[in-house]
């Protein structure tokens, strides 16, 4: 019989160990990067390893500290950080919308079998539309929408695209989760004359958590990718996507700059993953450890 009290401590310990591995992973990545450069100077590799294409790690670090433009007070890292936070906020908005829509879809699909048959193909088809094709379309349509004082701008378009990518893994995962309660548990609820709503809240929703948690992780990643790609393809100002485009034009003069922006994008992804991990810890607090993903 496992002690219920030790679980929190054990989780924290596991968390610290994962953090250690993550740091080790970053160090290995840096070493590999430099190793490839050294190798490229000795033999000919099928790709460019010059300082122009692959600047040294310390060049990138120095690049981050340089001023944004000549004579300006703001260093590159600060611009990237602000853009990263802005991107994270938009991705988070898209994630929230996507999760809400995905959950709602899953609930109606679970409740009405005919809707599952009718909607699921469209849900799947929605993801086969290439994002690059979708982005200008949404911006074009969105520009004509004004609801009272609310105006649909580029930010809304980008958030919409993030939500469009985020809802899918969630709705599919949540649908499986809502169907995960055992037939016996469902008969039991029926024997208590439980309403569909009570069955949803007291049985189906909590039983879906082990399916919901991985779906949330995938959705969060999708929201971040969706935001960055949408920022690139719509040229949305203020975000990390736009910075990557701008800095990549300056590679001849400042090759390190674009890598600083890319690292910024990676940090956005990691922060998003971290937030979902916290949510995961909360949602699975009452479940047996074997179920944790």
């Amino acid at each position: 019989m496992a002690g219920a009290t030790s679980t929190t401590g054990a989780r924290l310990r596991r968390g610290a160990i994962s953090l250690g591995w993550a740091v080790a992973g970053v160090l290995v990545a840096i070493l590999l990067w430099e190793a490839v450069k050294v190798l490229g100077s000795i033999i000919t590799l099928p790709f460019e390893t010059s300082d122009q294409a692959m600047p040294h790690v310390w060049t990138i670090a120095a690049g981050a500290l340089q001023p944004e433009v000549r004579g300006s007070d703001t260093p590159v890292w600060q611009t990237v950080l602000i853009a990263a936070i802005y991107t994270l906020v938009i991705a988070f908005g898209g994630f929230l919308i996507g999760v809400s829509v995905g959950l709602l879809l899953a609930i109606v699909m679970q409740r009405f079998a005919f809707l599952e048959r009718g909607l699921l193909p469209f849900v799947i088809a929605s993801q086969t539309v290439p994002l690059i094709a979708l982005a200008p379309l949404i911006v074009g349509i969105g520009n004509r929408i004004t609801i009272g004082p609310l105006e649909w701008g580029q930010t809304q378009s980008i958030m919409f695209i993030a939500a469009y990518l985020a809802f899918f893994p969630l709705s599919v995962g949540a649908l499986r989760g809502l169907q995960a309660a055992t037939p016996t548990q469902i008969e039991l609820m029926r024997s208590y004359a439980a309403t569909p709503r009570a069955t949803l809240w007291k049985l189906r929703f909590p039983a879906s958590i082990p399916y919901l948690v991985p779906a949330l992780k995938v959705s969060a990643a999708a929201a971040v990718v969706g935001t960055v790609v949408a920022q690139i393809s719509t040229g949305g100002r203020g975000g990390i996507g736009r910075l990557i485009i701008e800095y990549s034009r300056e590679t001849t003069s400042q090759p390190a700059k674009v890598y600083v922006a890319v690292i910024g994008a990676i940090i956005v992804g990691l922060l998003a993953a971290g937030l979902v991990a916290l949510l995961d810890l909360y949602l699975t607090r009452n479940l047996p450890k074997e179920r944790l993903t």
Binding site: M1, A198, P288, R291
Partner: protein, 270 residues
């Protein structure tokens, strides 16, 4: 005589009626269960014993025939929490503590928090799990989980317990202990029990009457009355016990003439 716990008359259950894959699960089944009586349904797989239990519980509708549970229609009885159910799987909710699992039917019946908690603790004491009230179900053994499920089925103080092979997944020793516990509880609470099982000794040990069913189509072929005074560990080795076991076994093999055409009108009890 007061109303019967369960009264079923001429019950038929035909799945996919009229279609090519039509299956007659219950054919003209009649059964009465008196108040406080313990009746087991036994028979090979596919004999309709679980189907009959589900018809009584209003989990599936009957095709034809009348069913009354505690003097009401099965639907009313279900709405009014007149029966409690237990299955082969304890089907406890992992995310709730043991106590809150027992509280679940009370929550759905609209009890307030304090009364719920008090009642759940009382029931856990009855199944001797009061020390595990705040544990999670997955920290308990299979037998303990099944005891929680029994406590939960008794939460609303139902007239009737409907049990579908509740000890089927337990080892023999735990199983016998659980049988004693169930007898003690049903006696103490005066609850009527309809108990589905595969096990002949289990049916005999627990029941006032053993209803023997046979498949294709599912029907009642025999009703064996069991008369075993106080049941305890010695009972399991008594001659009367073995006689009843033999009687049920013969009935299952079809060695004794079945009771009347198309089902059994059972003797009134208590």
């Amino acid at each position: 005589m007061s109303t019967l716990a369960v009264h079923a008359e001429g019950v038929w259950k035909i799945f996919n009626e009229g279609a090519a894959n039509e299956v007659t699960a219950l054919s003209d089944v009649s059964i009465d269960v008196g108040k406080g009586e313990f009746v087991s349904l036994i028979g090979p797989s596919g004999c309709g014993k679980s189907t009959l239990l589900r018809v009584i519980a209003d989990l599936i509708p009957s095709t034809r025939g009348t069913v009354a549970v505690a003097g009401m229609t099965p639907h009313e009885a279900r709405e009014k929490h007149q029966y409690g159910m237990a299955f082969q799987q304890a089907a406890l909710l992992d995310w709730r503590t043991v106590r809150r699992n027992v509280e679940l039917p009370l929550e759905l019946a609209g009890w307030d928090k304090e009364k719920r908690k008090a009642r759940a603790l009382e029931l856990l004491e009855m199944v001797q799990l009061q020390d595990f009230a705040e544990h999670r179900p997955w920290e308990l053994s299979g037998g303990m989980q099944q005891r929680v499920a029994i406590a939960r089925s008794l939460a609303t103080d139902p007239e009737i317990l409907l049990m579908d092979e509740p000890f089927g997944a337990l080892d023999e020793m735990t199983r016998e202990r659980m049988q004693n516990e169930l007898l003690r509880i049903s006696k103490a609470t005066g609850t009527s029990v309809v108990f589905v099982t595969h096990s002949i000794p289990e049916a005999v040990y627990l029941s006032n009457r053993v209803v023997v069913m046979s498949p294709r189509p599912g029907r009642i072929t025999h009703v064996v009355s069991v008369d075993l005074r106080d049941r305890n560990e010695d009972t399991r080795e008594s001659d009367a016990f073995f006689e009843s076991v033999t009687a049920v076994r013969e009935a299952l093999r079809g060695r004794v003439a079945p009771v009347g055409e198309g089902g059994a009108r059972l003797a009134e009890t208590s």
